[in-house]
Symmetry: C2
Subunit: 333 residues, 2 copies
């Protein structure tokens, strides 16, 4: 190149914005094709050998690692790729990046159209539900797992546990493994996730203790098996209960549909406040703008506490995690 | 927030990657809804007033400006939005960012699938042709215009000028305005772009001097009007002529299809080399990885010069622009 590409700091800054956007897609892809895990284990790999071993296109694979190198996740020397300064943090946060670049890209891409009030009716946005489920399994482990298990220890489940919005059923499998006396029931609106869940339950040898029901958590009807539920869990979907009136109605309906439930463990993101724009941590900006675009107003912790007070549920404990998007686990009875 | 969001520099770096990816979408959207131009003119705006005046959703519009503020394009104080340090460079480079975030997002999003050799057949990727055309009008003006007009001055067109890959016809309109004796012919594969082109030509009062033909530049057949063409222009599509054998065949066919052409002005990106991964300027990384993903190997300047030497065209002059993706304008006779 005959020009000085870093003419000014500000021109470098625009290039960094552009290259970071490319790198966000590369991070999601590098996770899915196994490159992040291999780099985590070995510290280095050969791009051409990696491409051949995984049946990947050579030039595209070199380009993938070049994108990671542009933001200092790796360094390249010929086709040798070595972990660099940002690798560990990117590895730990890859699910947030994947949520954005793989699961939610079409939502953000369509921003000019979605911004217009006249377009905000019907199915006015698209996301990739399978990709979001892929990221959410790791987000769940990263953000909620320790607090969830502490709450479960206090709940001491011995019978039937229902997981609302169970996705591919990972949480229920873990519950059944940890508490031998329990059985599980998963409810989700997405048939493809339930197909994965049933396959995984069979593979784990837990199919006899676990059932799945396709249904909308916001519109559940009583069923015989629901009457036996002892503990309700619900993670990363509570914000869909809102606005307030619908949230109150949903909490009331859950009380009726699960009359024997003695504990309800509800974990979700809540709206943050007061973070300066230039200090927003990973995830917050994308999560909150994404939900604004979808027309879903994420509630605050006080807003949740106020609906619990007005419902038949009694708030036992508020566990604030607040890792990045105001994560919290409520324990209700 | 109860945690220190900038715990370590590296954690801040991951957040910057994430927030830059969100901001890339916000920059494309802010351009399309008119916010960048209004900020350029006035230096500030009120987000709520702007949303109301343009019929935009309030919370989403606030979120859009928050995303711009996260990467220092603007600053926010309540709903007052003011240009910040990176504004001018982002404004000047907005078409590159838009090419990536609006036009090419689905290509990059599908990277895990597109990387696999077994998936790389048929129509294995998608882009938004209309969005790419939107960005390319400005990219053309930004990257090629001065060099193009200097080459046209040397060509001194007096008769029929054909623009191959004319898109929505902006270049031909400009040519006809600048050279009153000329007439124009636009060839493009995309019917929607030609519809825009015909409408714009009529609105400009130039419809009687301008015609458009739907056709694939790589497979043109002779037509009576082609026989009269005096000057050929072709911008930002020459890389589609490649690989080498196809490029030679295309150059030969253009010689036959336009027998009276005495000048061929060909402007395009070429493959860069030797830029360190962490110093890649805006566009290069996305443009080159995007074409690798699509299976299009961008040629180098020496590769072009070698096919010209083997063709019936004589290279008069190589104008190296090399702003960001090795832009060059060849003048052929």
């Amino acid at each position: 190149m005959s020009i000085d590409v870093s003419r000014t700091g500000s021109q470098r800054h625009v290039a960094d914005i552009f290259n970071s956007a490319v790198a966000a897609w590369a991070i999601g892809a590098a996770w899915e094709v196994g490159a992040l895990d291999e780099l985590r284990q070995s510290g280095k790999l050969d791009a051409q050998e990696f491409a051949a071993r995984h049946g990947l296109d050579g030039p595209s694979t070199e380009g993938l690692f070049r994108a990671l190198a542009a933001v200092r996740v790796v360094e390249r020397d010929g086709s040798t790729v070595t972990v660099a300064a940002a690798f560990d943090d990117v590895y730990r946060n890859r699910a947030f990046v994947h949520w954005l670049s793989r699961g939610s890209a079409e939502l953000f891409r369509q921003m000019p159209s979605i911004l217009r009030t006249e377009n905000r009716t019907g199915r006015f946005y698209q996301r990739d539900a399978a990709a979001i489920a892929y990221a959410c399994r790791e987000l769940d482990a990263l953000c909620y797992a320790p607090t969830f298990w502490a709450a479960m220890e206090r709940a001491r489940p011995t019978g039937l546990v229902v997981d609302l919005g169970c996705g591919s059923g990972g949480r229920l499998l873990d519950v059944l493994r940890r508490y031998p006396g329990t059985s599980g029931l998963g409810v989700d609106i997405a048939r493809p996730s339930l197909d994965v869940a049933e396959r995984d339950a069979a593979a784990a040898g837990l199919a006899d203790r676990l059932r799945f029901v396709e249904g909308d958590v916001l519109r559940l009807e009583p069923r015989p098996e629901f009457a036996e539920v002892e503990v309700i869990t619900c993670f990363m979907m509570g914000h869909d209960f809102w606005p307030r009136d619908r949230c109150l109605a949903t909490l009331s309906r859950l009380r009726e549909v699960f009359p024997a439930a003695r504990r309800f463990i509800l974990g979700d993101a809540t709206r943050t406040s007061g973070i300066p724009d230039t200090e927003l941590p990973v995830f917050t900006l994308g999560f909150e703008l994404g939900h604004d675009l979808m027309g879903i107003r994420i509630p605050t912790i006080p807003e949740w506490q106020s609906v619990f007070a007005a419902s038949q549920w009694r708030l036992l404990r508020t566990n604030r995690i607040e890792m990045t998007v105001g994560e919290v686990v409520f324990e209700l009875a």
